[in-house]
């Protein structure tokens, strides 16, 4: 459910908003509530103070000033205030007439400091009360000013309570206001968040639409996304790079298929034309035999092309298994030179095999043989008349390096860079009967790589073409 970026962003934004609003509202509530209660308490405390100072002790009599008792806030008004003066043993000295028969609850050992508490009136109304103990001053008999300082004697307990319904109502409305405001803000933030997230994700939808519009047949298209936000640009760029790579590889594939078709069409034309011409009239058996042997030769050439293609396809699909065995390289080179010796002799090409009998290493014999056969065949094909072919090898560390070179190379250094390309030929044409169709070196390169090695070709002095193979050897 949270897989959608939109849902995640919305949930994040709204969750954050709700959390912040809740914290903010709570703080605000606590602060305002405290201020209101403090204000209430301050006024309660001041009444309590006035009441306390109005209490006089005369001998054993304790009296409260009548004028004070008549104060309007102590009468039955909208927000009545009750008081009750007690001795510490609990006997009531004076109390608010509004209380009637009721008593204000006693504070448990109020101590010297005023104590505030919430009380419940029997009629269901909330009261907030203050309780304090004090020592009443002594009345001055000679009409002198009473001493401000209590002069010792019995402490009295005074409780003053005031109807807190208003306070409670204020606090309730505050809670209600904050809740409503939070809900409204949350609702608005859901709306605004949805719009913002929707607009923010719009470039992604546009890119998706552009990607959807790209046709598999036409990979030249690129994602434009002109107004893409900075965050989407890397995605767009990577996708475009991917498209470029795909296009290049599709083009390579297309070119490869075209080359394969071309490579098979020409010998096919040869077979067809040879047969058709042979059939145009009655001929003697010698002529038919010649035509058939021509066709056979062409078929052999085509077979070699098809074999190379199959081998390449298997290498690409990694369908080839390798079997490591001990290779005596000098011997292997001689084995694969033998079938070429006649062709080399005809053109007076000399092979110099400089590989010593000590060069042995474990590797896959079948595929190394294929590589050597291809390279030697290539060397004989392209060496000049009376030319030279050299083979050399050395082991160093955990690798073996094999070099096969021949004289008479007509290629430029720039052309050398292409010798491992599919269907590349130095003269943009095939030679002879199609055995050199431009697949040999491409196949060699892929075989060497499959064996974990590397291959390079270079043009040395005096037109010497050298192919160097390096294979890692596991000891």
């Amino acid at each position: 459910m949270m897989r959608s970026l939109r849902t995640r962003l919305l949930a994040g934004i709204i969750g954050g908003m709700v959390l912040l609003l809740t914290i903010f509202s709570l703080l605000l509530y606590v602060m305002i509530a405290r201020a209101l209660v403090n204000q209430f308490d301050a006024s309660l405390a001041s009444i309590a103070q006035i009441l306390a100072t109005s209490v006089e002790r005369d001998e054993d009599q304790v009296e409260m000033d009548l004028a004070v008792q008549q104060r309007p806030e102590l009468q039955n008004s909208g927000q009545p205030t009750y008081y009750e003066l007690r001795r510490l043993d609990g006997t009531v000295i004076a109390k608010s007439p509004l209380l009637g028969a009721r008593d204000l609850p006693r504070f448990e050992d109020p101590g010297k400091m005023p104590v505030f508490t919430m009380l419940q009136n029997p009629d269901g109304k909330s009261l907030r009360a203050i309780g304090l103990t004090f020592v009443p001053r002594n009345a001055d008999r000679e009409g002198e000013q009473a001493t401000a300082q209590p002069t010792g004697g019995e402490s009295l307990a005074l409780a003053v309570a005031r109807d807190a319904t208003d306070l409670q109502r204020q606090l309730r409305s505050l809670r209600w206001l904050l809740t409503v405001a939070s809900s409204v803000v949350t609702g608005l933030s859901v709306l605004i968040g949805t719009v913002i997230v929707g607009r923010g994700l719009r470039p992604l939808r546009l890119i998706a639409a552009e990607i959807a519009a790209i046709n598999a047949d036409d990979l030249t298209a690129r994602i434009e996304a002109e107004h893409a936000p900075a965050e989407a640009v890397p995605i767009k760029d990577r996708l475009n790079e991917l498209l470029s790579r795909l296009e290049a590889s599709f083009n390579r594939e297309r070119q490869f298929n075209a080359d394969v078709a071309h490579e098979l069409r020409t010998p096919l034309a040869g077979i067809r034309s040879t047969i058709e011409v042979a059939l145009t009239r009655k001929r003697d058996s010698v002529e038919y035999r010649a035509a058939l042997s021509d066709c056979l030769e062409i078929a052999a050439g085509m077979q070699s092309v098809v074999n190379s293609l199959l081998m390449l396809a298997r290498l690409d699909a990694r369908q080839i298994t390798f079997k490591t065995e001990e290779i005596r390289l000098a011997e292997l080179v001689n084995n694969y030179w033998r079938p070429l010796a006649d062709r080399a002799y005809e053109r007076q090409i000399v092979l110099q095999n400089d590989i010593g009998p000590e060069v042995t290493f474990p590797l896959d014999r079948e595929h190394l043989s294929m590589i050597l056969a291809n390279l030697l065949d290539n060397a004989v094909e392209y060496a000049n008349e009376r030319g030279h072919i050299w083979t050399a090898a050395r082991r160093f560390g955990n690798s073996v390096e094999i070099t096969i070179s021949n004289t008479g190379c007509q290629l430029t250094a720039e052309q050398i860079a292409h010798v491992f390309d599919f269907f590349w030929r130095g003269d943009s044409s095939r030679l002879g009967t199609g055995t050199h169709c431009g697949l040999g070196l491409a196949l060699v390169q892929r075989l060497v790589r499959a064996l974990g090695g590397g291959v390079t070709a270079e043009l040395q002095q005096d037109g010497i073409f050298a192919v160097q193979l390096i294979f890692p050897i596991r000891p």
Binding site: R265, P267, A269, R281, L431, T433
Partner: protein, 224 residues
């Protein structure tokens, strides 16, 4: 009619040359681009059959050079390249026809015949001179109602004369269009073949069709 085949794939080149020769064409064939250009520049060919991917020199370059030197030969490109771009490039460089490998030999022959007719501004596949009728497609010849059997070489000579009917054609021209570059025919071979041809097509009771212009050559046509 003399053809040049430039094709580097040996089996195809050889079978083409053989088939075309047996049809009655004089055929020169080479597998190398530069040599092909040298042949094309040095001789008068009626049709050049040109591969595109050649060692030595690319077929399109040969075509460009041949056209820039104002050689009149018709060029038929014979290649494995079959994309529209390849065909357009070849035709735009001045090729007269384009045939993709593999092809039917019959079709190649028909296209060569069409090019020859075009080269000699002859639209109809049948040429009639007086009561001599030549079916260029079937390579058959009639004088009146009677069909005449000719050897390929005789037919080639007659066809060449028929294509230029009414004009005097020199021995050199005949030699150039009917014989191959390295044929070892003797210098009077043209006269000898004209003799054979006369024996087969002329009738004592009808007017002569092959006329000799002394010192200039031969002409096929009813003398006015």
């Amino acid at each position: 009619m003399r053809l040049l085949v430039v094709e580097d794939y040996r089996p195809l080149r050889e079978s083409l040359a053989k088939g075309l020769r047996e049809t009655g064409f004089a055929v020169d064939a080479t597998g190398d681009g530069k040599e092909g250009l040298w042949y094309a520049m040095g001789n008068e060919y009626d049709v050049i059959i040109l591969d595109l991917m050649l060692p030595g020199m690319n077929g399109l370059e040969i075509l460009k050079k041949v056209r820039s030197e104002d050689q009149k030969a018709c060029v038929l490109i014979l290649t494995a390249k079959d994309t529209v771009q390849d065909r357009v490039a070849g035709l735009d460089l001045g090729a007269d026809d384009y045939l993709v490998k593999p092809f039917a030999f019959e079709e190649l022959l028909a296209r060569i015949r069409a090019l020859l007719r075009r080269g000699y501004q002859e639209k109809s596949p049948c040429v009639e001179i007086d009561d001599l009728r030549i079916d260029l497609a079937a390579q058959r010849v009639w004088r009146g109602p009677e069909e005449i059997q000719l050897t390929p070489r005789e037919y080639a000579l007659l066809e060449y004369l028929a294509m230029r009917a009414g004009q005097t054609v020199s021995r050199m021209d005949i030699w150039e269009h009917v014989y191959e570059f390295n044929s070892s025919a003797s210098s009077n071979v043209v006269d000898v073949y004209i003799g054979y041809l006369r024996k087969k097509i002329e009738r004592a009771d009808k007017s002569a069709l092959i006329h000799t212009s002394r010192g200039r050559g031969y002409m096929l046509g009813a003398k006015s």
